[in-house]
Symmetry: C2
Subunit: 351 residues, 2 copies
Amino acid sequence: MSTPNLSLIFTKIPEGLPVPGEHITVRDVGFDLSQPAPPGGLVLETLYVSFDPYLRGLLRDPKIESYLPPAPLNKPIVAYSLAKVLKSNDAAFSEGDIVRHLLPVQQYNVYTPSESKPFKIEPGVGPEDIRHYLGALGMPGLTAYSSLYEIGKPKKGETIFVSSAAGAVGQLVGQLAKHEGLTVLGSVGSDDKLAFITKELGFDGGWNYKKEKSTQDVINRLTDGKGIDIFYDNVGGEQLEGALATLKRFGRIVECGQISQYNLPPAEQYPIRNTLQVLVKRLTMTGFLVGDANMGPKHAQEHQERVGRWLKEGSFKAKIHEWQGMENAADAFVGMLKGENFGKAVLKVKV
Amino acid sequence: MSTPNLSLIFTKIPEGLPVPGEHITVRDVGFDLSQPAPPGGLVLETLYVSFDPYLRGLLRDPKIESYLPPAPLNKPIVAYSLAKVLKSNDAAFSEGDIVRHLLPVQQYNVYTPSESKPFKIEPGVGPEDIRHYLGALGMPGLTAYSSLYEIGKPKKGETIFVSSAAGAVGQLVGQLAKHEGLTVLGSVGSDDKLAFITKELGFDGGWNYKKEKSTQDVINRLTDGKGIDIFYDNVGGEQLEGALATLKRFGRIVECGQISQYNLPPAEQYPIRNTLQVLVKRLTMTGFLVGDANMGPKHAQEHQERVGRWLKEGSFKAKIHEWQGMENAADAFVGMLKGENFGKAVLKVKV
């Protein structure tokens, strides 16, 4: 007996932005809801899916190496999800529990025991809104937390520039940096987002990069020509070039993302002309992955405790942008890549 | 009573390569050889001058900030020199001693006491050829030594690519890396230099970048597509881009120099299109100055002891390129910037 089970399938390798229905396609793959949970496993119903920029990198020709394995064609895309336990054959989980796990993006899944166990969300421990477990308390939050401290090395009185400052990672980086006593500047892609980071998140300044085309000029203006100590990069391209020009001696670049470049073929990628600044100003530019030993694993516990407490208290904010319905999964995915989301991008599948 | 005293004067800010007689000019500034040494000071006769790429960065518009103060116009260029003490008014130095110090590039100088004392070369301690105190045992050698260990973090079995491998810094980096058990590749600007690094210095491979235009292709060929762990950059530009493309995960870039870019206006600097690799492969790219606390000061004693011993034993080689005569100082300076030297560039003034 088959129940409808909409799934987001990777159907063709995209050159630029994926096109819904061509490169990524929502299809009913069916599900047998009468099946029992497998030995040691679970039957899960997806509540929310997390859409993050790194997913674009999985939709590639498998011959191209990168930091994560390529997604297999004609299979569902796999993403961090929140799901409800419908049936359990593992004593650690009960029917009705909510778990976070990397799951195929579809309405129903069977979890069979594997090395990485689902994370059970204990009611009452963290913030009421469980979606934060995909954002500020999830992978993007841990990414922000571990890399800001480990690579950015923020010191009171310094100035940081965060690109994509209203995004899942950027909004947390900015608030953490404020907490540490830094002057915080951010770039965003709309005036609404600009108002959000400066008025609600407490950023000291910011700009809409679609209106202010020269990152170097705007940083110079906002810092009275003094420049910045840390650049937290989520965007790459012109903003990276402008940051290189305005970083002070011994400045640090946390290379977290280059969303402006992911959908461009190599020949069209933005050319950075001032890498000489790395030398002249003794900068350090470091790439990382949240799974690296000195990143997530080292900082996970502290991140959960501190950010969980601050969110619960209300001293930290985490804006979430929600699309709804698995039937809209492909459009939501592309919307996230285009920066249409205002805050952490999630897809609500069912509550 | 004035003795002729040829001096290399900074006469005009160059846009590209300095032109002898226009931007840098040899002039007789005269010297009173009958004067006594000042209180606590010395009268010095220059024997050798060290010409190094960083000097180009001093010949700039003083409005442009950089890691070292700009050279003042219409004054002699200041460079590391070996000089003989003609007269001493400091008990630590005797007539006939040989010292190393940053001095105006001219035949005679008066040293007045300052924070940084001249370094006295003790006969019999290091190698017989005192010119090494400007190269492998001088600032370039300490640069190579401290940054290779501090930023490059070489591990046995890894592969390093050193650009400008026959230069003052590159030849030492390559030999140190061999000593640590790495596979060592180097790029050079002539077939003679290629024969030198592979046959005399023991590099495992190398190429003439004037003949092999794609750094990425040649590294892939020489490493069977496996790539490199460390890039020791003295050159910048296309070689940096090729290294970014071929660095392995967690690779390190020691950003020591970008000689290919120093004489270009910003708009003509080589654009690096694949900084995305820093992210994808979790690379670290770090600039430094030999005077930084964790560089020269931390490693100076070890550097002098180890490299001094190896040079004396003959297990390390340090090729020196000598121009002769202060009257040729401007041509030698430009020759060094153009890479005409084969080995560490020095000007012999008098022996």
